[in-house]
């Protein structure tokens, strides 16, 4: 049985399940302390420092930590999860693992992470984009300030990356924070026309594989005329979506599932093509490169090109 990924605004059931799973995963009941994360960093000579409270963390915090560790590991032209060909397959693997945990904690093997079709909201007037149903008590709670209403008000941020020092800080637990539409570099969301540019690319990625190239991956990640598409959604939401600890806000997953859905649409139009292939391009970003995992066995981009063993999108079921 595979998970079905649906639009969070369309399916009340997937929305309720998503909130249940996020809140359950956020219980600090793992037996893992912040000091254990610090010891892990030191033992493996990872390029991170952790400071602050020695407190028990949640499974959700562990996923936040995994993302930051991957981001801290140089893997030119980018890091182990971003700014290169590995961006889309790494996040696919990461969300497969989160989705599996959600399925288990809910006891629903067909649960799929929902997506937010942000380009649909990008067609609205700027002033209305942060006032849609998504940012109400029935959905994600406040778009601006601390999240104090709705189901996600129950979640707590315990790990946060200081943007000045890069130090990972174990904080006194606090609510999620957002500043949607308040950054002058991203006053509005991506549009359908911008999304179409990413879908119209004929190549997944091309040399020099970095954030200057014209390719499906690089445009979807959002580096051309940046910040666009994926990056723009991070900047537009702001607050906890800004630093390397951005998975602190479940909006992270709504954004990335939508990015993954667009990649899946691109592959539907262009075939399951990935570049660089084996023995080509930068090590760590090739189709047979082992990706960095902290939950479950590592996978390669080739392993996740076809996601049908794990999930399907609603648009794929219509056909």
């Amino acid at each position: 049985m595979v998970g079905i990924r649906e639009n969070i605004l369309v399916s009340p059931q997937v929305r309720a399940d998503f909130f249940d799973a996020m809140i359950a995963l956020d219980e600090a009941d793992t037996g893992i302390m912040a000091a254990d994360l610090a010891n892990f960093v030191r033992a493996n000579n990872l390029p991170l420092r952790i400071a602050g409270r020695n407190q028990e963390i949640s499974r959700y915090d562990f996923f936040v930590f995994w993302h930051v560790v991957a981001m801290s590991m140089d893997l030119p032209p980018g890091n182990a999860a971003h700014s290169g060909p590995i961006f889309l397959p790494w996040h696919r693997m990461y969300m497969i693992r989160l989705e599996q945990m959600c399925q288990q904690i809910l006891g629903k093997p067909d649960f799929g992470l929902p997506y937010w079709d942000w380009a649909a909201d990008g067609e609205l007037d700027d002033r209305d984009q942060w006032r849609t149903d998504l940012w109400t008590t029935d959905f994600l709670g406040e778009a601006r300030g601390r999240v104090r209403t709705g189901r996600l008000a129950e979640m707590r941020v315990r790990i946060h990356q200081n943007p000045i020092t890069g130090v990972l800080q174990s904080l006194d637990p606090r609510p999620i924070e957002r500043f949607a539409g308040m950054d002058e570099d991203a006053p509005n969301l991506p549009t359908k026309a911008q999304e179409r540019i990413a879908l119209d690319q004929t190549e997944y990625d091309v040399p020099d594989w970095n954030f200057d190239v014209q390719s499906h991956r690089n445009i979807l990640e959002g580096w051309i005329a940046a910040p666009q598409l994926h990056n723009r959604v991070h900047v537009w939401v702001g607050g906890d979506m800004a630093p390397g600890t951005s998975p602190n806000d479940p909006v992270f997953f709504l954004n990335h599932v939508n990015v993954d859905r667009l990649w899946e649409r691109w592959m539907g139009e262009n075939g399951r093509n990935y570049a660089p292939r084996a023995n080509r391009g930068p090590a760590g970003h090739r189709i047979d490169s082992s990706m960095f995992s902290m939950v479950g066995d590592p996978m390669t981009p080739g392993d996740v090109l076809d996601p049908s063993p794990w999930y399907a999108y609603d648009h794929q079921l219509v056909a």
Binding site: D74, P77, I164, D172, N210, G244, F292
Partner: protein, 134 residues
């Protein structure tokens, strides 16, 4: 919600093993010890080779930033501390960093994370010969 399933998760949160990704050089990354960063952009134009080296050392209240700062081909500045941003200038970037750090509380360090280790390297960091990270 079936809380009993909570205890049966087959995928463990694994801190006992560490398998680096292909191509990763142990210890590389943003150590927090570098205080300047050089990007090299290069291009061929009408058969002529262009190379532009840009070095940033950015201080806030006299303290240098120690996370990677790079310049993209279109001249925008990218900073690892705010990984999804691309700034029109380094000044805009520094302002955004200050804004992002404005509400971070001061907390006692029970984890020893503010101590500097003994193999600090305060030299600059070169991002190599292309418009991106290396």
């Amino acid at each position: 919600m079936p809380k009993s399933a909570d205890k049966d998760l087959s995928m463990t949160l694994d801190l006992n093993s560490f398998t680096p990704p292909t191509g990763y050089k142990t210890g590389s990354g943003h150590h927090g010890h570098k205080t300047s960063f050089t990007s090299t952009r290069s291009a061929l134009y009408h058969g002529r080779k262009i190379k532009i080296k840009t070095t940033y050392r950015i201080e806030i209240d006299g303290e240098p930033l120690t996370l990677h700062t790079v310049v993209t081909d279109d001249g925008k500045v990218h900073y690892h501390g705010l990984p999804n941003y691309a700034f029109a200038s380094a000044l805009d970037m520094a302002k955004a960093i200050i804004d992002a750090a404005r509400h971070i509380p001061s907390i006692p360090d029970e984890l020893g994370g503010h101590q500097h280790d003994d193999h600090s390297d305060h030299k600059g960091h070169d991002h190599g010969d292309h418009g991106g990270h290396n």
